[in-house]
Symmetry: C2
Subunit: 478 residues, 2 copies
């Protein structure tokens, strides 16, 4: 072996001959190799040493479950949580009530320590608070709850991909570097080659930014493929440091041609989320139940089950912005609720308004349609009332807004009129505008904050716990 | 209807009642709704008007195939390529040899123009060169060949996801904003909040960059989940403007714990690519054959079929860097080939060397193992010879390098020793180093240029034709 510092022992002879990957713990659980010598790799999650026998719980992170290894006591003496090990023995059915199988051996040389931990290693078998874990960003994903979240995240992406494929969408990859600003000024990150001190001579020949939404480019692809979606990072240089904002987050965006009503978008979004929830709810051995089992707090367990049930079987509300303002005003005049910001037509719905509507008043997801034109970007289709646009937000309990979407104005005259009223420059979006004179069709789309969806479905309070390395103002630690 | 400029007619009554999406053309081909009135939306790809009948080919981009609509001649008079239309009629079996079904109607009001094109609309029924199409980046994806490429791209991603899921990997999302530079100095994009003129007060509290590789962060997640992969944009501020470089490209990266030999990585990569190719080769009605059919040039058709055959059935070569240099030197001394750069041990393999080895000498994919230590980053595991590291590149005909990977040094003493020899600062990567004292395990990984894979599998010459909006020096048009 190449690397063999004192105390490290590797035994990979079998692997070296076939070059295959060894079985991971999830594979062993799914198809236990009974009656043959099996070698298992992983990290120690807990050790109990008794007089004649020792129990080591190990995990390799591929499964929610730890594999219990039953070994001679002297084999477990030097082990502690976090140490990486290789254990060889026989897979047997377990008598224990919390596991179906266990690895058993009486071989006095069955446990190899692969990599030790320092005495200062911070993770223990006990419960660690999310706050504490955020201080060790390079180690926190080793914990059972947070690793369940990452597997859950992967599962949700897979289910979304399944849904869009089934719905005849093409998954595509619009650019993150852009010279146009989709949502209006502000909150942008500017980029430049680090070696270009000479500011006159820009790398791209002009100012360039990180995208805040890929929508405009996605519309180009929509006019070619009819149904397109993407899941990409988006960036906002927001100073606000809340538990639901990030400077770098993943956004699912979709654009759909040949639709004419914003309700086609809301119906589609409801089906999309139900497709994901259905997979969590039905697969009792899958990521959904693993996530549930990784919560120690029974309150969260009940909340998650109830949430998924309600998403699938409850009725999702749809109201207009005007109705939302009416409800908010009426209820606050009655004294049923007091808000920091007084609800008023024309003003944006504040986060407190959104959360109360969905979490307290309706106690369900709420689509809010038709916001005032002035509060929305130039590309949204105007409604016949002249005051509102054909758009929607999806609000959900605890999290607030997780989706925003609209019909896109596809009539070039109306679009140019809106641009003129807003005194916008069009130099950087001429390509976008010219789509409207190149076989333009009625279309619409939406963007969903992927991390917000995960927070909602997983009943996770802080968005920093559902993304591997959160980025926000003054926070780019590792 | 809200938007109804003169000449535009919408008929979405059926949709408005159910809010479902209407059937797209791919769905109609897959499950033709015979004997019922069917409404189809799309863009005109070609029109032939005869005395008593007219033929309109329409596509909505969801399928490689156009749907032929047979309509009364006056219904097609004002149509031309690019116009968006809605056609209502009956789906029938077709007598034509190039299509299985057609939409037929004698209704004098069967074709609605949804959106016209300007007289200057650049796309015609004829063949357009890729060079020309790159000058109209907002319209080029409407062509049959380029739209096939986007569907192919989506398909390849789906097949990769299928493979990694099957292999027990978690798909994950490392950050693109980073304060550490994985591969060494140079070629970075720097980012800062656009509104922070005050250069002392940085948004993240320090200099931050766009990632050139997510590997270091992926290793963190690998130490938690054992098998992780990602497909994310990566960025290089390279000035070189070749047909295989981009400033923003998508990279598939994977890290695998509990492996000990670089050949486990090469074996895995071979299986990964074969999984994708197998799906192209087998599914004769799928994206693979559609891509083939979208090429007018028979030379490309043969090349693609031969390439896929050879990838599945041919033998992939594996040689060492030292062997590669020996072959290159011997063949160039014999005068069998002349290179601009003379091959010499210790020098990098140039693109011309790579392409000749794989395209001319072996005529197959080639894994080249064990490059000189000095030419590779600090984190690669040293080989016992003291001169080389346990790494590999995968070279393929036409494209050259598409994958690079290595074992990662997991022994903290050896890693620190290497860092010292290179005079590297470690302030920004302490989190990375501390993984080596936190239950470190032998592991390795690789990165594959997604666009390069697509160029190779699709026999596409220019990387700009497999990514929706290519970015490179002085090129960020739309």
């Amino acid at each position: 072996m190449l690397i063999k510092p004192p105390g490290f022992v590797f035994q990979f002879k079998r692997l070296q001959s076939s070059y295959a990957l060894s079985k991971c713990i999830n594979e062993i659980f799914k198809d236990p190799p009974f009656k043959s010598q099996t070698t298992v790799n992983g990290w120690v999650k807990g050790v109990r040493v008794q007089k004649r026998i020792a129990f080591i719980d190990i995990s390799d992170g591929t499964s929610f479950q730890n594999l219990m290894c039953v070994v001679p006591p002297d084999q477990a003496k030097e082990l502690r949580t976090g140490v990486s090990v290789q254990v060889t023995g026989e897979i047997k059915e377990s008598n224990g009530k919390s596991q179906s199988i266990e690895l058993k051996t009486t071989d006095p040389d069955s446990v190899k320590v692969l990599g030790p931990v320092l005495d200062s290693y911070p993770l223990q078998k006990k419960f660690h608070s999310p706050q504490f874990l955020r201080t060790i960003p390079h180690l926190r994903w080793k914990t059972q709850f947070l690793s369940s979240i990452l597997r859950f995240r992967s599962h949700v992406e897979m289910k979304l991909m399944e849904f869009f494929t089934q719905e005849q969408f093409t998954r595509t990859h619009p650019p993150l570097i852009t010279s146009s600003d989709c949502e209006g000024a502000g909150e942008l990150f500017k980029i430049e080659s680090a070696s270009r001190a000479d500011i006159e001579n820009k790398f791209f020949g002009k100012d360039s930014y990180l995208t805040v939404s890929t929508q405009l480019h996605l519309e180009v692809l929509c006019m070619a493929l009819s149904r397109v979606w993407t899941l990409t990072p988006c960036f906002r240089a927001e100073e606000s440091d809340t538990h639901r904002h990030l400077s770098e987050f993943w956004m699912l965006e979709a654009e759909i041609a040949f639709i004419s009503d914003v309700r086609q978008l809301t119906t589609f979004c409801e089906r999309m989320i139900k497709h994901v929830v259905n997979s969590l709810h039905q697969d009792l051995e899958g990521q959904g139940s693993n996530l549930i089992n990784s919560r120690r707090d029974q309150e969260f367990v009940h909340k998650m089950i109830e949430r998924w049930d309600q998403l699938l079987n409850g009725k999702w509300k749809t109201i207009t912005y005007t109705e939302a303002i009416d409800i908010l005003s009426a209820e606050s005049s009655k004294g049923n609720i007091s808000f920091q910001f007084k609800p008023a037509w024309g003003e944006p719905l504040q986060s407190e308004h959104e959360k109360w509507l969905t979490g307290e008043y309706f106690k369900s997801p709420v689509f809010v349609l038709n916001y005032p034109k002035e509060s929305k970007p130039f590309y949204m289709t105007r409604n016949p009332d002249g005051k509102t646009v054909a758009c929607f937000d999806l609000l959900v309990p605890d999290v607030g807004e997780i989706i925003g979407g609209s019909m896109r104005e596809h009539n070039i005259d109306l679009l140019l009129d809106e641009i003129k009223q807003r005194n916008m420059k069009t130099d950087d979006i001429e390509w976008y505008l010219s789509l409207r004179s190149s076989g333009s069709v009625s279309h619409g789309g939406f963007g969903m904050g992927f991390e917000r969806l995960l927070c909602y479905l997983g009943c996770v309070e802080n968005i920093r716990d559902v993304i591997p390395f959160p980025r926000s103002s003054r926070d780019c630690v590792c």
